[in-house]
């Protein structure tokens, strides 16, 4: 029987809590577990980022109460932006140059968040409102980049240590 999903409570590289570990590429019924894993990972990162920006915004504006609907709206916008991210696969090698892919991904995220903002009444659809939303998306984007960079630094250290152990003495 295929070992499809392994639910974990911790992520060994980051120490953060993650929901799913993906042990192999394909699960039952040809489900691409890597894609599913990536999607859930993006959803967690982005939702955390949106939550952080919202909390910051509320703290600045002095809002004390959060309507229950806002929590669902945050989750839904996290889901939509994770779907957009899964489409662009910014961390995989694609046909587009990396910088262009990032730019298009960022534009798409801004588009989704502007639509969500309008739909949920998070912003006034005028220039300051749009600028504020774009800056917020940029903030979440930077936070995600930072989280990834920290993970990557750890991975690189781990790999470099192993390379040194195994091939350190070999002359080229």
């Amino acid at each position: 029987m295929t070992q499809a999903f392994v639910f974990l409570v911790s992520h060994k590289e980051t120490g953060f809590v993650l929901l799913v570990k993906c042990p192999q590429e394909n699960g039952p019924g040809g489900v691409n577990l890597k894609r599913l894993y990536d999607f859930i990972k993006w959803f967690l990162y982005i939702t955390t980022g949106i939550l952080f920006i919202c909390a910051l915004n509320m703290a600045i504006q002095g809002d004390a109460d959060i309507p229950a609907a806002t929590l669902w709206q945050i989750l839904l916008s996290g889901l939509l932006t994770a779907a957009v991210t899964a489409f662009f696969h910014p961390e995989e090698e694609g046909r587009l140059p990396a910088v262009l892919n990032i730019f298009l991904h960022f534009l798409a995220l801004c588009g989704v968040m502007l639509l969500c903002g309008r739909w949920f009444g998070w912003l006034k659809f005028d220039l300051p409102g749009i600028v504020m939303m774009v800056l917020s998306v940029a903030g979440v984007y930077l936070l995600s980049f930072l989280a990834y960079y920290i993970i990557d630094v750890r991975q690189a250290e781990q790999i470099n240590r192993k390379l040194q152990e195994r091939y350190g003495d070999e002359a080229h």
Binding site: E92, I102, Y149, A156
Partner: protein, 145 residues
Amino acid sequence: MKITIEAPKAGEEEEIVIRCKSLDDEIMNLIQALRKGRDVLAGYAEDRIVKLEPKDIFYFESVDNRVYAYTGQEVYEVRKKLYEIEEAYSYMDFLRISKSAIVNVAKIAYLKPIFNGRFETTLKNGEKIIISRQYIINLKRKLGI
């Protein structure tokens, strides 16, 4: 691992016997290497053909449907497909690191993260190549991490 070499008796065939507790990856790689014999690649330069020892190759790269082998200083065309090279030499230290490149892991000096989940890999000859995140997991697996 103890290595014993014995001369066969007159009339006996040459034979390699592997005595091991389990057939782990290392032993399987050894068996594969023995079966393949000495792998030597033909490298084509402008006016000459040279024998390339895989261990001397830093990386292979596919450019415009041609595959090139990069040694420390030289570049040779190799008349094989990248996937053929990947299949033939995966038992050694070679590893696919992008759609268009296979690196000799033994020739990596170090790597460091750059933006967007990519890793800049510095080889032992100072050359730099990029590994994307999707292939990092394979590198970690190859290194037993």
